[in-house]
């Protein structure tokens, strides 16, 4: 049995690319949006995480 036969059985598979494009565009917009909303103090704390082991 060829591998492709399994995939031909997916119904409506042609819509997959469109859905995925939408998911990604929305996801990107959300990432950028939330990134700008991030709290400055919080950023300052987490970007210093690599240095925490020196303080101990």
């Amino acid at each position: 049995m060829k591998f492709s036969t399994y995939l031909t059985h997916i119904a409506g598979v042609k819509i997959y690319p469109i859905i995925s494009l939408l998911i990604f565009v929305v996801f990107f917009v959300l990432v950028v949006f939330w990134m700008y909303r991030l709290d400055k103090n919080e950023i300052a704390r987490i970007e210093n995480l690599p240095f925490d082991d020196q303080k101990n």
Partner: protein, 711 residues
Amino acid sequence: MNQEKFFYDNKIPKAFAIACIFWGVVGMLLGVIAAFQLAFPILNFSDYFPYLAFGRLRPVHTNAVIFAFVGNGIFTGVYYAVPRLLKTPMWNKALSLIHFWGWQFIIVCAAVTLLLGFTTGKEYAELEWPIDILITLVWVVFGINLFGTIFTRRERHLYVAIWFFIASWVTVAMLHIVNSFEFPVSFMKSYSWYAGVQDALVQWWYGHNAVAFFLTTPYLGLMYYFLPKAADRPVYSYRLSIVHFWSLIFLYIWAGPHHLLYTALPDWAQSLGTAFSIMLILPSWGGMLNGLFTLRGAWDKVREDPVLKFFVVAVTCYGMSTFEGPMLSLKNVNAISHYSDWTVAHVHIGALGWNGFLTFGMMYWLIPRLFDTKLYSKKLASAHFWIGTLGIMLYAIPMYWSAFRSYFMMKAFTPEGQLQYKFIDIVQTVVPFYTIRAIGGTIFLIGVFIMVYNLIKTAKAGKFLASEEANAPVLAKEYVAPANSIWHSLIERRPLLLLVLSLIMVGIGGLVELVPTFLVKSNIPTIASVKPYTPLELQGRDIYIREGCYNCHSQMIRPFRYEVARYGEYSKAGEFVYDHPFQWGSKRTGPDLARIGGKYNNVWHFNHMLSPSSMESATIMPSYPSLYENTIDKASTNSKIHVMRKMGVPYPEGYEAIANQDLEKQANEIVTDLVSTDKHIKISSDKEIIALIAYLQRVGRDIKLEEKTNK
């Protein structure tokens, strides 16, 4: 708040660091040998034994550098950085040990089996199925340990380096499993589940993303940890690192088809690969600038500190190769670069510059800390830096030069419309460049030896800190989200969700790319005259794969005038439907073989494989005398035909039982032809060379039959 006392283990990072350096030396040494082999074929030692011929050695070199050197480099960084970023020891010591020894065992198995000729014939995934399973198991052990650590952490936020590690782990798992679908024929022999175009697409989806998620994203994780540590200042922009992460893992997975431009791959898939490759410049350069800007106002430190010098060049090389990569995915540039030394130069800017120098920088920073001392000699480290840089230049420049030189020679026509140069003329003019390249590689390796000396001296001067004590408050059960951080509360504090989202990101990219090719029948037009291989040809093909012929010979003629004139009719997708695995190759050190069938007579092949230089004095191809002694493994014919039929190759039911009769008949015919053409030839029909000749005479011929019937 409740402070808890715990210990960071240094033994495992130390073990991985030693393994990384050790395998680095081995892998690079093999690379140097392979490089010299191309300039001096005698170094293949193939007159004495087949094990060190270029076709077998080169996969050991690539696998050693990628999975042994860089792999152990990743684990060194992960086992050092992750506990410190999460304020907890690694979750399970036993799993850490299993991971370490399991990985080293795999490397040894890989080296031994590849040299013995056990290979699947798919680049960077050459290992046979039992080792593939072993890799999966050890990778799962690593994953359990990583996530165990994450779940027992004392720091709510997962620092961006850890995101890169998580995404790398899950994507490598997916790539490895999908690309390794293979049907075992026997212990240590299998056929790829996919055939022809589909196999090519899956392979380069894997191959490209092995570069992305094994050589790039985990090393970006290391960059985001060790660069700030070495510079003693936080990363330039943490916000940028967030965008860098999500956009990089999203875009990378789509770019695979750019390895197959102008091939028989459907056009839409090629365009998809190009489009996403161009977009990749943005996140890649965002990441590079984020790394370099971290040093803003601290460039005076770079002058003093060899660690930072290495990091700066590593990040610059990252930027260079991630600019070059998208450029190479443009069709007009790819026409020049593909199958040429340009690709070799490109990957070595990445491997020597980005992976190599980042690893060296990390080691110069880490080893003194593990041994609680100062680096033995900054001067030697600086010397290593300059020697290494010189090595990279001497490696890359001749390769670029050779690529353009051979391109212009390949496409040169005389005024009468004939090809101006034979392939061998072109080989002859680039051999000196191969020599310089090998010297460049040697210089780079000398630098590594200086590092080894320096680090051993450092370790001897200090005392190994087996563990380091630390204190941190217990993770509060009640989660209080920081201001304006919906994102954080939704995803970044939830490692499993982060894992799943990363998987969805890369999974969809992979699906969209792969599914339609499997799905739409019209993507691969079938050609009626293309028939399955005869049993003898199939055995011959397996010998072709075993000897790693694909490392130097492509089987894919692109639709260019200068290729068609040189090699014959350009390749069609439908020609490869029975090729498990595909053998398109990625580099032409020798000529393309897609239409080799019928080009020369049997005697030519017979003499050529025994002594290539007797047919073509300037050739750099190794000889294959062992093929004249080894007998064809007829016992395997039955199971080979059986497995092929299971995968859809239309051999008649029950054919496996009588296949050897056909095999012997065809072998006798070839021997009769050999002996009648050249009376000096003495060979029995059960020798491997007969099978190989049968295969080579078959390659690319089916379509010629089609032309005949159409006329």
